[in-house]
Subunit: 221 residues, 2 copies
């Protein structure tokens, strides 16, 4: 049965691959699993039909038969458990790669997201410059630590894993910040993720949704 | 081989069970797994010996034989995979409980942590009141959504799971905020977690570390 994921009908990132459905699309492309997409408006994600899928009214979700899941980390872990290619087979290497999944989402993403939120919603506040300096420093600390661990390796634990998929996805949120470029090894790491054929297919798929929505808006206006 | 976790020699929460070793201690108590604790000073967690365990210089970590893990979410998932009692046996129920683990860490904890950070470090800033209102509202939104999903159930997915363990642990960070009390069902849910014998044993174990450190400080001062 073809699984169904949810995504924004009109993504606030304008198809730049930053909405969280991109993470699940990328994982699905890595394992070669076809999928359908249910597109939702901003109004629809807060309505009961979607809250039944996702208690916090977010995207993406996952539906396959009776199983409904939310949280991209959990959906990707589920895919990794059902298919080869996202986690190592060796038990120790597998759980280490899972550590990187949690690290991406719980240690690196929070300061990255806080910085993005501030740059979107606090730009006109009198405290903006002062706060941004603090937030940049919090992100820089994580990048220094990540860079120290990564060294000149291609991926975080030997081969590409779901840990890299999530870490690269989180780092891409810093794209326009200039912070990634301070660490050439991290810049290469992110570029390596973006060069994967599965990433490129997922990127094109989410971008097509945005372009389609734009073209329909143009027709009706 | 007895596993070793790391914790702060002198926890900034003064033994109130809010440092992240508490989450792993609680999980260890739920499954009845004895463990040793390596206590680290604030200086030690940033040094190479600990950075080898935890690339981001945090606690807790997990060592057992050759396996070294970081991120409490990953450590708890590892324990849940090795022992009964932290995740349901049914595959669908299991991955749904894992969704709650990720939701606790990636959807609920970020606004809770951001609020804690602001209340610790921005109290004297001119923008404090204005920002705190925004941060409270972000937390309130998550609590409303969580409360709507929880309803009058005891736990998030039928029986107690690692998803509840992490969610209750995250919610405990709001203890002094007054926000939990706005939702009696969430207040009961948190209290139900805190009443578990395993929680109580873990709480006493981390508190004993703090009391011991205090008593040594008293002797040497």
């Amino acid at each position: 049965m073809t699984p169904i994921i949810t995504a924004f009908a009109s993504s606030p990132d304008r198809g730049r691959g930053l909405a969280r459905d991109m993470r699940v699309r990328w994982a699905l492309e890595e394992i070669g699993q076809p999928y359908d997409v249910r597109l939702l408006s901003f109004a629809e994600i807060k309505q009961p039909a979607h809250l039944a899928r996702h208690p916090f009214g977010q995207i993406p979700t996952w539906e396959q038969g009776e199983l409904v899941l939310f949280e991209s980390g959990a959906i990707i872990l589920h895919l990794a458990e059902q298919h080869h290619g996202l986690l190592p087979a060796d038990p120790d290497a597998r759980i280490r790669a899972i550590s990187w999944m949690f690290a991406a989402l719980n240690t690196v993403e929070p300061p990255v997201a806080e910085r993005s939120t501030a740059s979107l919603f606090e730009r006109d506040k009198p405290w903006y410059a002062d706060r941004m300096q603090t937030l940049d420093e919090r992100v820089r600390q994580r990048l220094r630590q990540l860079s120290a661990r990564l060294g000149d390796a291609d991926w975080l634990e030997g081969h590409f894993s779901a840990g890299d998929l999530l870490m690269v996805s989180v780092l891409l949120r810093l794209q326009t910040s200039g912070l990634i470029e301070e660490h050439p090894t991290i810049a290469s790491y992110v570029a390596r993720g973006q060069a994967r054929p599965a990433y490129l297919r997922a990127f094109e798929a989410q971008r097509a949704v945005f372009l389609q929505a734009e073209s329909e808006r143009a027709k009706t206006s």
